[in-house]
Structures are given as C-alpha cells and as structure tokens.
Symmetry: C2
Subunit: 342 residues, 2 copies
DNA sequence: CTGTTAGCGCATTCAA
DNA sequence: TTGAATGCGCTAACAG
C-alpha cells in the first residue's frame, strides 16, 4: 500500500499547536464552542502547513458525500451537453461535485456506472433522457440513493422517483400542425432508434397528430433507425433522407432530433432540393446550431434550463430530506419557426 | 449526523457467515490466502445481502482514490466536449471515475475546483486548454496531485507537468498559406479573448505567417474580443464580422475557432455576401458541425483522439509511478479543405 | 470552551 | 488459512 508523500492532517496541526485533534476539527469547522484565540492559533498553523481537509475521511465519518452523478447518453451531443452544463453549474453552486457518466445508451455501461455511483456513495443521481437498462433504477432505489429522472418516467415498480417530464406528444403535435398550416400533408418522419421515452413519445405524438388531422401514415414515409453505433446522429439523418427519397416524395420531413435534421438538410442541400420550397424540414430540440445552419431550422424548443432547475432542485430537496417527493412535473414545449419551415 | 438507512457492510456479512470481517475482506478482494469453501460461503451471503463495497472507506484506507478530474472551459462547446467524451471513455475503461469541472475560463471557479479536487484526493487531473489562474498549477504540484495539461504549456516554475501540445503556430500558418494559394491577401483575423496559450499561439501564428508572406497586418482587420461573458461564441463571430466589415473589405476571414467561424458565416449569409466567392472563411478545430454547415467549413483539424490517448496515457503512467514523466509531446495539425475556402 | 473517546468501513500486519 | 488488532483522517458525543 504505497502512497504519495504525506500531506498534513489535523493531527499534525494539533501537535504543533499543542491542542488535541478534536480542537483542530472545531476550529476548522468553525464550531461555536471554541475561543477566538485558540481558533486563530489553529487556523494560522493550518495555513502555514498548507492544510487541506481530507474529504474522503470526512465523508466516511459523515456517511454521505458531497458528490452527485449525472448520467447522460452522450456529452458530445449538443442537446445533452446543455443539460450537463446547467446541472454542473447549479450543483457547483451548492458546493457539490459532479461525476460525469456517459453511457452511449449502452446497458452495460449504464450498469457499471450505477453500481459505481452506489459504491462511491454519491448523495444523488440525475438521470437525463432515461436508462436503457431499467434494472438500474431498481438498484438505485434499493440502495437508497435519491435520484431524479429528466425526460423519462420511472414507474413505481422500478423505484419511485421524481421526474421532470416534457410533453413530447404535444411537441410532435405542434410540428404536424405547423406543417399543415403550411399546406403540407405528405409528411415523412425519421428518428434514431427509440432508445428512450422521449423518442418513443415523439414518434407516438407524430402518429397521433397525423391521425387527428386525418392524414395517412405510410410505412415508406417513416424511417426509424435500427442501430446507430456506427453512425453519428447527423449521418443518420443523412441516410434517412436517402431512404425516404428513394421510396417517395414528401413535402415535409420531420426529424425527431435537430441532429438528425441537420443531416436531412445536408442531404437535401447536396441534392439541390430547395428547403423549404421543395421540402420543408422541422427538427426537435432547438440546439444552438439550429439557428446557425442555413436554412435555419424550424424546431421544437425545450425549456432545458427550467428542466435542470426543477430537476436539481427536487433532487436536493430529497437529499436534504426536506420532502419525500415523488412529484412529477411536466413542462410544455413550444415551436420555433425559422426558415426551414417558415 | 443523520444518515440514510444502513446498507450491509463487511461486518454484517461476517456476523452472518460466522467469520471475521477480515476474512470477508479477503474473500471480496479475492485474496490468495483463503479457502475456496469459505470464500464461496462469504460471497454467497454477500450476494444475498446485496452487498456493495463502500469505496469511501476503501479509499480512506488505501489513501488514494480511483477518481480523476477533468478541467475544461465549457462542456457545451463542441471542441471541448469532444475531449471530455474521449477522456471519459479511456478513464472508465481503466475503472476510474471522472469529476467534471467546467470553468468558463473563470479564475475563481478554477481555483474552487482545484482546491476541491485536492480535497477529494483525486488520483490525477487532466487540464484541457489551460487555466486562466496559473497559481492553480502550483497548488496541484504542491499537493502532489499528478496532472497533465492538454494544449497548454506549464512552466517548471508553475510545477513540472507533462503536456500534450499542439502546434498552433503551424495551424495558423497553414490557414494563411491556404488563403494565399487561393490568391487571397486581404485576410482578416477574429478571435475570442486570448484566454489560453492555444488562442495566443493561433494569433501569434497568424502574425508570423503574414509577416513571412510579406503581408501587412492592419489593425482594422483584426478583431480580438474583449470579454465574451455575455455572448455565445457563435454570437461573437457574428459581431466580429460586423465590426470587420464596417472598417474594411477583406477577401478572407480567419476565425480562431470554428464556433466563431459559424457566426462569421451566419452574418455573411444574412448579408448575401457569397462564401467563398466574395469572402472566403477558414475556421480552426474541425468540430463535427463544420462539415454540416453550408457552405461547409475549411478548417484546421486537431488530432483530438490522439491528444486524449497521449494525455491520459501519460497521466496514468505518472499515477502508477511507472515513470516520473515531464515529457512534452507536440502534435501537428492539418488543414481540411471544404467549400468555404476551396 | 477543550480534551477524551469512539467509531465510520475497510485493508493489512501479525499471530495463531 | 483465519482471527485479532490497528489505523486511514475525520466528526461528534460526552465529560470535564
């Protein structure tokens, strides 16, 4: 059990200052039961020694940590990393640390991370966009780790947990509605694999809306990717467009994520098909780039900041045992109209 | 000191199996000095109880942890988050955990994170794109936390550390060279604030190359943002373009990052200025979107994957005390020619 | 106010 | 091979 050079501990400070280690602890933790003079002496030598508290020891003693885990499919995806950024900020401001858990929708990686987070004794976990491996929810629940799910619903059987939900059904409805308001009825749909509830709901919402407006859904106008391990999301949209155009002539393409929509537009641009004149395109997520691409992308905006604030807020309430919340919050999306479907 | 419900510990397993806690430890850690029969009994009850080792305790005992910190300016930036993703992957495969430290170039946040990482007793730190607060390097060094700097150089005075460097001077040279090969001599330069070595070197490289090719650098053709707290990078490029066009008529614009280049193109598109016919644009970083935007972006490619592998590899060598490395690795960039400057 | 004491859960030395 | 004992560095009763 070799180890780095020793860093000063409370014991060292105690020895030098001529008090007990407990007294040092009081001083460091600014206890009210300690004289100013002793405190000053202790803190001065602590300073001199460059003392930095050992959180591992403190955590062991307190039987809890000031770390949380954030589980996310892919930090490289614009939509997901926005979530990471906001959450990191909120968490940091509460003096908590964040373990980043990038799962790539892989059930085994999810499992490894959840187990490891439990071992690390994290105070809580934020799960963004759902877990492929549903058994993981049970593990967290069983081991008493508070968690919130953002944009995914956790059933009571999997472990009661607060959720911040987005009305994805409504979002898809807004898309179809907008297409129709443009006089577009031949609408194609493309999506990455239906990994999580959000994607399933978007697809479901599309079907519901089409039905509601009395429009048929033709199989050849729907492209749901099987596996995307080999492709980037953008590439997926590109491929989807190829497939769709090979089989039919839509007037509008609804991509279930902006990333895919970028691929769609890329392909259409290459084919010199005019967007939106020949084919209009609508995405979903309103990632920063959607306003940069040309034509700029009409898309569905999600209140990500609000989702994070609500989610983190709820998580910390549970961590602090202020409430035993199982509340579900549902937020509403809105449509952002830009050039690709004006 | 309230606490969550108790989870089973080695002691519990010991009591139930009728052995000592030490024996349980042997079994769990697969020690060679334990009989198969006892080991099986122990592991079985461990399983039954759903035992999960407490890493906090283990870490305290071993006086080291299996966590590292990754310090990065902004996970929402495509260029930076690629680094996070690769590093997370490599680190996870080594059974290590990653604390994400998002600094937004803020010296205070950097300081908070570095101090906290020391408190958390991380095994090492990966610093991407440099720290604004140079004193932080000294702290890590003083507290004996191994670290590597990626795309930043750490002086010996700040604490000797291995670095993975990129030849940013060369990258800028390639840009200027390419402009000239296109017959473009009136080249404008725009950059976000010169936070780190990479950005300073790119600017420096631009000046050096211009000089080498005998071209003048006019003040009005250079836009270095002062502060960008209020703006997104893309917005910065947008603003920079306004400023530059107000003062002159460049034939080419060199943006020090792709993000800024996107803003440049956005503005030019709005003004119906044709890219590259009227003004050619070259970025830097080769982020995934650079191939998606239209016109697609000519840019400088950085071997990010290699940087991560080299960086992490070096860090873990130091962590394992295999070598006391202070080596500096320099990688070379290359130009990717696309439509914006064909 | 300060010292004494007792662990937190685990790994590891030394005996047996 | 297993048990007993020790301590990692810290917090928090409790006693004085």
């Amino acid at each position: 059990m070799k180890k780095a050079l020793k860093t000063p501990t409370m014991k060292d400070i105690a020895r030098i200052t001529g008090v007990t280690q407990a007294t040092v602890s009081y001083a460091i933790n600014d206890s009210e039961y300690i004289s100013e003079t002793v405190k000053k002496r202790v803190l001065d030598t602590a300073d001199e020694l460059g003392y930095i508290p050992n959180l591992v020891a403190r955590n062991l003693k307190k039987r809890t940590t000031n770390t949380i885990g954030i589980v996310v499919p892919d930090v490289m995806n614009s939509y997901y990393n926005e979530m990471v950024k906001y959450n990191e900020k909120i968490t940091r401001e509460l003096d908590y640390f964040t373990f980043i858990c990038n799962t790539m929708h892989d059930a085994d990686i999810e499992d490894w991370y959840i187990i490891s987070l439990i071992q690390q004794k994290v105070a809580g976990v934020i799960i963004c966009y759902g877990l492929t491996n549903r058994a993981c929810y049970k593990k967290l629940y069983k081991h008493n780790i508070p968690f919130v799910a953002i944009d995914d619903e956790v059933s009571d059987e999997e472990g009661e947990a607060p959720c911040v939900l987005l009305n994805n059904i409504k979002g898809s409805f807004l898309v179809v509605q907008h297409f129709i308001s443009l006089g577009i009825k031949k609408i194609a749909y493309c999506s990455e694999p239906l990994y999580n509830m959000a994607l399933r709901d978007r697809y479901e919402g599309f079907k519901v809306a089409m039905k509601e407006f009395g429009l048929p859904i033709k199989d050849e106008m729907v492209y749901i990717a099987k596996e995307d391990n080999e492709y980037e999301k953008i590439e997926l949209g590109y491929i989807a467009t190829k497939e769709i155009l090979a089989k039919g002539k839509p007037e509008g393409i609804f991509a279930s994520t902006d990333q895919m929509a970028f691929g769609v537009i890329k392909r259409l641009n290459e084919l010199k098909i005019k967007v939106p004149q020949d084919i209009a395109v609508i995405g979903y997520d309103n990632v920063p780039f959607s306003s940069v691409i040309s034509p700029s992308l009409t898309t569905i905006n999600q209140p990500i900041m609000t989702m994070c604030i609500q989610g983190t807020d709820t998580l910390f309430k549970v961590i602090r045992r202020e409430e035993e919340i199982k509340r579900k919050i549902t937020l509403e999306p809105s449509i952002v109209i830009r050039q690709s479907a004006p």
